[in-house]
């Protein structure tokens, strides 16, 4: 497979990111044009931007890889990523927007009126962000390795440097139009080759794909538990992810926030119809990936394998470009979210704006992690970030928005016990100290089933035990979260 096209595609994507993200699109209007000030970001546009940023390496490569190796049970991942937005919609979307919070620490401070809770949430946000960043960088490393034979670490370093460059050049601008473009690019990059792949498959006589037990690699000796762990983590973890929360600020009001979330659901649902195709076809055409090698590479390899020739090269280039777009967009969104939290809450002095330093910090720790830790399938490691988020941020958001008796000590207890235990389990699993088979490994690798209830219980029980610490502004906060917009302004919009 000729690699030049693929490398060229990657280079184009990287350059475009630096230029556009760094120097930004200028939307100038002179006064002879209609005024911009009354414009808001329409829900569908915002939804495309959110989807564009949300579809990460896990979505692009990871799902297909896991499906190829372990079979259709792995499709719970994309269903989980999508259903997570449904849970977010139902419990969190409109109230979170109405709280006016930009990040999760903002929400914690506004609801609980406590700086200690704010600091603890910041630490956990940074941790979850780093956990999510590591697989993005590793996915980039893998992609470059496949495409160019470069050493595994080069891609990681490349993505990290590009992110730092783009942010350092242009500040932390979040540009809606760029992210909208990302969504359509990613969708096209997967859809077009998929069409050709399916055509080629039909041309081959439609060979059946089998997922017999003896062909599937060993994943977990308690697959039912692992499935439920995956479900709980993804369904309940989406709402707290750093780069998801900050996107709510852009909606002008709670009502639009809800509509935007529905649109996001639809858009990513459309996208997630595609990775299974790659997974199934991968089994047929790249079976060697099942037992050795990185299955995450399936998406990248298939066009060349199945179609071959110039067409295959071009399609492979398209896919590679889309993959890199996925890494870069999610990585920069996450880095900005994490760096923002670091600037506000972790770095000591506020006088000088430290976000360049914060950006370097935000990306260098996951970079180090990605280089040191051995590769775990991308979708699984993203799942770990979801588990931490589900165990700490889900109780905080749900109880903070719907329960009047939440207190700062309760929140701290829930965050420490829920999030802390999930984080600990993840760390132990990654370090390889506990190996499969056996229940210890299963419990630690998919902690959400027990750590989420732990988080909720801790928060509830400790809050009930400290009724004197209920924040005085609770009633006002509840009113603000739930009152529809037309009544708060007192005039028709």
């Amino acid at each position: 497979m000729s690699r030049t096209y693929a490398v060229a595609a990657v280079a184009v994507v990287v350059l475009a990111t630096v230029l556009v993200g760094g120097f930004g699109l200028r939307i100038s209007r002179t006064t002879s044009d209609f005024y911009v000030a009354s414009r808001t970001v329409r829900p569908r546009l915002n939804a495309a931007a959110i989807s564009g940023e949300y579809l990460s390496a896990a979505s692009f490569l990871g799902i297909a890889g896991l499906v190829l190796v372990h079979g259709p049970d792995m499709l719970w991942y994309p269903v989980g990523y999508t259903a997570g937005y449904l849970v977010l919609l139902v419990f969190v979307a409109a109230p979170l927007r109405r709280s006016g919070a930009y990040t999760l620490p903002d929400f914690a401070e506004g609801r609980l009126e406590s700086r200690q809770v704010r600091r603890l949430v910041s630490v956990l946000v940074v941790g979850a962000g780093w956990l999510y960043l590591v697989p993005q960088l590793q996915g980039a490393g893998l992609t470059l390795k496949i495409l160019t034979g470069a050493p595994g670490w080069l891609g990681d370093v490349l993505v990290a440097s590009v992110v730092v460059l783009a942010v350092a050049a242009g500040g932390m601008r979040s540009i809606t139009f760029v992210q909208v473009f990302q969504y359509w690019l990613k969708l096209t990059a997967l859809l077009v080759p998929a069409i050709f792949l399916v055509l080629a498959w039909r041309g081959d006589g439609q060979p059946r794909v089998t997922f017999d037990a003896h062909l599937s690699a060993f994943r977990a000796d308690h697959p039912l538990y692992a499935t439920y762990g995956l479900i709980v983590a993804t369904f309940l973890g989406t709402m707290g992810l750093p780069h998801v929360v900050v996107r709510f600020y852009t909606s002008p009001n709670g009502r639009d926030a809800r509509r935007t979330t529905v649109a996001v659901l639809a858009l990513i649902g459309v996208f997630y119809l595609l990775p299974p195709v790659y997974g199934a076809l991968g089994r047929l055409y790249a079976p060697e990936l099942i037992h050795g090698g990185d299955a995450d590479a399936a998406v990248l390899l298939l066009p060349g394998r199945v179609i071959g020739g110039l067409g295959g090269d071009l399609l492979g280039a398209l896919v590679a470009g889309g993959a890199f777009a996925a890494f870069l967009s999610t990585a920069s969104g996450l880095t900005m979210a994490v760096a923002g939290v670091i600037t506000q809450d972790v770095l000591p002095s506020r006088g000088v704006r430290h976000f360049r330093l914060a950006t370097v910090l935000a990306i260098s720790v996951p970079l180090a992690g990605s280089l040191m830790v051995s590769r775990v399938p991308v979708a699984d490691s993203v799942g770990m970030a979801f588990a931490v988020s589900a165990s700490s941020f889900c109780p905080l958001l749900v109880l903070g928005i719907w329960w009047r008796r939440l207190t700062p000590p309760g929140a701290v207890a829930g965050l420490l016990l829920g999030g802390g235990s999930a984080l600990l389990s993840v760390a132990i699993t990654v370090s390889g100290a506990v190996r499969p088979p056996g229940w210890p490994h299963a419990l630690l690798a998919w902690p959400a089933v027990w750590s989420v209830p732990v988080g909720f219980l801790a928060m509830i029980l400790v809050s009930l035990a400290t009724p004197r610490r209920i924040p005085p502004g609770t009633n006002a906060a509840m009113t603000r979260f739930h009152l529809p917009e037309a009544l708060t302004t007192g005039r028709q919009r």
């Binding site: 049970d73 269903v79 139902v90 419990f91 009502r255």
Partner: protein, 120 residues
Amino acid sequence: MSAEPTPRREVVTGEPRRVRPLPRYRTQSEIDEQTALGGAYVRSLMRGQLRAGLTAFAVLAAVVGTLPLVFEALHSSAVVWAVLGFAAYPPLTLLAWWYVRRAERNESDFARLVEGRPAP
């Protein structure tokens, strides 16, 4: 005729013009000032929204919670493919759309309740 009694006079004044009306407390201001009454309104709205949310979540949880067991029982990967790969997404979107309609209707009902009510 001099013995006619002088006609009586009666005191006449204009009618009182400025009648101080009782202050009418709008429901909106009850909510703004967070009195006990306003709190009751907000809590009723919250209950309605929570009910809608929990309904949607319960449907989701019931279906999703049982699916892995169903898959185990059926042992057919074709079914898993069909459901998780394709059939799951439209219902998710429809459920979301249902919830949004419900929540918006709750809110407009509430708005009508607050604005239409005269002073209690």
